[in-house]
């Protein structure tokens, strides 16, 4: 240990705060300039980019939704051709699921998890940068294909045989399949980072029973990603093989199986719902205690429910396939398991209700969104129990009832908490408060607009309106409700408009927020807003579940990390006992180049299988550059 002698290497012990800040800033900050901005590996910078990009995709997907509502506002409308309508509903679903919902939840994790567990950067920060560039590449690919009239038109689920080689002409379905590969690579990378960050980089003393619920939720979400995404990557890769090189995975005439696609897709697709929903559960469970001024009721129960939901979510995919003619035993089993997931979901709801019941609620905007979430999500959960039962599902399958149901659970279950989370953590991310007045306006517009838009869809479904139709005849009894829905969707859009105006306005001229404007209890509020590049000057030590409420005067901290290079603390998995100081990778351009090479390979493989062979060489070059030994010895102590 002579080389690491504290006398020879600069440590953070026994120096004044200002001096420590200056030294850490020198070590952790990226220099100015475009290339440095591309090379940065700061989890906060990457997460902000991720979140902003995902919200741009939300706006684009919302515009598509408005276009669909325009077309459906009256019978026999001619605003959009059937071919473009197919592309639009496919783009809307694909964009919202793969480019908005999953990435934005992961981005929130990338921003919040390292701060909430009290560390200085996410694990594998270069992989994190690579993940963002891949996500951006996938999004650009999908939207450029839409601009070129070659957007996928096969639905966001791309069922074979309609997406297969016989019925899916052109490159539309191939573009969909490779877009999936882009976003899944990005998602898997983030998932691995989250798992390692949560398991090995928690602040000393943050044993597993003191981990914030949001961090638990992100951990379970990351495991869901790791287990679910390979199924869809296999599915999309075999689909493109069937289409391009004539393999027979989904060709029943040659021993393939068309239903295999649906199994693979929904084995991913159902956990996907929880990949989106569980982070929202974590957000609600974190926001709620702050605004009712008491700790969360039933922490153990909630964490248990999170894990139970995660495990159960892999056992219900077949309820998306009830009308495919599966054996009776299978249908009964999946009806039962689909209803079983209502148990952990119910336990969560009761924990939140008990927390509110026992607390003194302060009705600020984030809390309003949480209440909106509870109301909307319970309604969506109730229709969920309805469609989980086979006889009912057989009646409403592929009708607007299902459209209403999943918008209630996805928008109600994820977008409401997400908007609440933006209002809640915006001060931390930017150092400025969002407007309470505009926030309330946007909440009520979104809440009212959402219910007015989507509740009538239940009725439309029950009176027989099928999904994915581009128009309907005037004799059918749907015109009035459709017009009402289309007008209500404008209210919903106005709510989002107010929200985005508030974000832009507050970013520039919001009131300055201090460290902890809400008086919250978790570690991210212990540092400045916005947090400095190094997050925490000293890694905090945690003695309870609500460190900032229980240690009011001064948070206990560790010391002894080096200041002349990027270092953080590695702790043990269960009890978070300090184990080692570990050096963290510096900024690098290689992840960006690796993402470029991977993108070129994936896009090339839409056109010729040889792209996989030749594209491997640039990828190998970039990976060699990425992993080239640094010269200085990796040291740990």
């Amino acid at each position: 240990m002579t080389k690491d002698d504290p006398i020879l290497t600069p440590r953070d012990t026994d120096i004044a705060d200002a001096e420590l800040h200056a030294r850490l800033m020198r070590t952790w900050t990226s220099p100015p300039g475009l290339w440095a901005a591309i090379a940065t590996v700061d989890h906060k910078v990457i997460a902000r980019r991720y979140i902003a990009t995902a919200f741009v995709f939300l706006i684009l997907g919302g515009i598509l939704a408005l276009a669909m509502r325009l077309q459906l506002s009256r019978p026999e409308a001619r605003y959009i051709s059937p071919d473009r309508y197919n592309q639009i509903f496919t783009m809307h679903g694909t964009n919202m699921m793969f480019l908005f919902a999953v990435p934005v939840m992961e981005a929130m994790a990338v921003y919040l998890v390292p701060l909430m567990v009290g560390t200085r950067n996410i694990a594998f920060p270069r992989l994190n940068a690579f993940s963002y560039w891949m996500f951006l590449g996938g999004g650009l690919l999908l939207w450029l294909s839409f601009a070129l009239d070659t957007a996928p038109d096969v639905g966001w689920f791309a069922y074979v045989p309609l997406s297969g080689p016989e019925y899916g002409p052109g490159k539309r379905a191939d573009l969909w399949a490779q877009m999936i590969t882009f976003t899944e690579i990005a998602a898997l990378a983030v998932a691995v980072e989250i798992v390692v960050t949560v398991f090995k980089q928690r602040a000393p003393g943050m044993s597993l029973d003191r981990v914030p619920v949001l961090v638990w939720a992100m951990l379970v979400m990351a495991f869901l990603v790791i287990f679910a995404m390979p199924a869809i990557m296999f599915a999309s890769s075999t689909l493109i093989l069937d289409r391009l090189v004539g393999t027979q995975f989904y060709n029943p005439a040659k021993g393939g199986d068309a239903l295999l696609w649906q199994h693979l897709f929904w084995f991913f697709g159902h956990p996907e719902v929880y990949i989106i929903f569980l982070p929202a559960v974590g957000m609600v469970s974190t926001i709620l205690p702050t605004f009712v001024r008491r700790p969360l009721f039933g922490y153990m129960l909630l964490v248990g429910a999170l894990i139970a939901t995660g495990i159960l979510s892999f056992g219900l995919w077949v309820h998306h396939m009830f009308v495919t003619g599966l054996p009776r035993v299978g249908e009964s089993f999946f009806t039962a398991s689909s209803m079983a997931i209502a148990l952990p979901a119910g336990a969560q709801i009761f924990c939140w209700l008990a927390t509110i019941w026992a607390g003194k609620p302060v009705f600020r905007v984030p809390f309003l969104f949480v209440l909106g979430f509870i109301v909307t999500f319970v309604l969506g959960g109730l229709t969920g129990v309805m469609v989980a039962s086979l006889p009912f599902d057989t009646q409403v399958h592929d009708t607007y009832f299902v459209v209403a149901h999943f918008h209630y659970v996805l928008v109600g279950g994820a977008v409401f908490p997400l908007l609440g989370a933006v209002y809640y953590w915006f001060p931390k991310m930017t150092g400025r408060m969002m407007s309470e007045r505009l926030g309330k306006l946007s909440f009520w517009l979104i809440f009212a607009g959402f219910h007015l838009t989507f509740f009538p869809m239940h009725i439309l479904g029950l009176i027989g309106m099928p999904r994915r139709i581009y128009t309907y005849q005037p004799e059918l009894p749907w015109a009035g409700l459709n017009l009402f829905v289309s007008l209500s969707s404008l209210v919903l859009a106005a709510g989002f408009l107010v929200f985005f105006i508030d974000v832009v306005r507050s970013r520039r001229s919001g009131l300055p927020a201090g460290r902890n404007p809400w008086g919250a209890s978790t570690l991210e509020w212990a540092t400045a807003s916005p947090p400095p590049a190094y997050n925490f000057a000293h890694i905090p030590v945690v003695f309870s579940r609500e460190p900032l409420w229980d240690e009011k005067d001064a948070l206990p901290v560790t010391s002894g990390l080096r200041t002349d290079r990027r270092e953080l603390l590695v702790t043990s998995l269960a009890a978070a006992i300090p184990q080692a100081r570990e050096s963290v990778p510096e900024d690098s351009l290689w992840p960006f180049f690796a993402a470029l090479a991977t993108s070129a390979m994936l896009i090339g493989s839409i056109f010729t299988p040889w792209a996989v062979v030749w594209g491997a060489f640039p990828m190998a070059v970039t990976l060699i550059g990425w992993f080239w030994p640094k010269g200085t010895k990796e040291e740990m102590s």
């Binding site: 051709s81 052109g170 391009l244 004539g246 060709n251």
Partner: protein, 198 residues
């Protein structure tokens, strides 16, 4: 990072939106899928100028006006493939390798490989058994089918060639250029100097 004035940022944002909208418009107008051709174009597509022998000829004006869609448009090619089975072409021509009628993928074309010749063959029929389809198919259907048959015999697959069907087809899919694999040099080439390879 450098902060630009609000006006500059607003102008560049507006500029980006305009550029994107124009790109989208250009893209959308590029190759629209038309499910029902307007009657004037239907009539125009029939207006091919055949040689007196009826073997081949010049394509009609409408074909150029539409941007020559039938040789390389993926949607038209795949429609052609479906028409191939719907109109019973396989009864004589099999999966493309021929039967009672000639093969499309052995490298030999009785009336030449031109698109207009193939259109004329389908529309007007040919001696020794090829019936005329002019009263059974619309003009654009005949062009779609002809485009597909031409692509079937191509020695290098076009990017927009269809993939395999979900059935037991014994030849490789169209996007893998079956004609290159199944090329038949024939019993005795009339012009040996042309060589046996495609």
């Amino acid at each position: 990072m450098k902060q630009y004035p609000v006006a500059v940022r607003l102008a560049s944002a507006a500029g980006a939106v305009v550029v994107l909208a124009m790109a989208a418009y250009v893209g959308w107008a590029r190759e629209p899928r038309t499910f029902r051709l307007p009657p004037p174009l239907q009539a125009g597509l029939n207006d091919i100028k055949l040689m007196a022998s009826g073997i081949g000829g010049a394509p009609p004006e409408a074909f150029f006006a539409m941007g020559k869609p039938y040789e390389a448009g993926s949607f038209e090619l795949s429609q052609g493939k479906r028409l191939y089975s719907w109109f019973g072409c396989a009864a004589c021509h099999g999966d493309g390798q021929g039967g009672k009628g000639p093969s499309f993928i052995d490298g030999w074309w009785l009336y030449g490989p031109g698109l207009v010749s193939i259109v004329a063959s389908i529309r007007d029929g040919r001696p020794h058994g090829m019936p005329a389809f002019r009263d059974k198919m619309t003009a654009d259907e005949i062009w779609q089918l002809a485009g597909y048959i031409k692509s079937l015999g191509a020695y290098s697959a076009h990017l927009s060639a269809p993939g395999r069907n979900d059935d037991k087809s014994p030849i490789p899919a169209e996007n893998r250029a079956p004609a290159e694999i199944l090329f038949d040099p024939g019993p005795t080439p009339h012009h040996p100097d042309q060589g046996p390879t495609p």
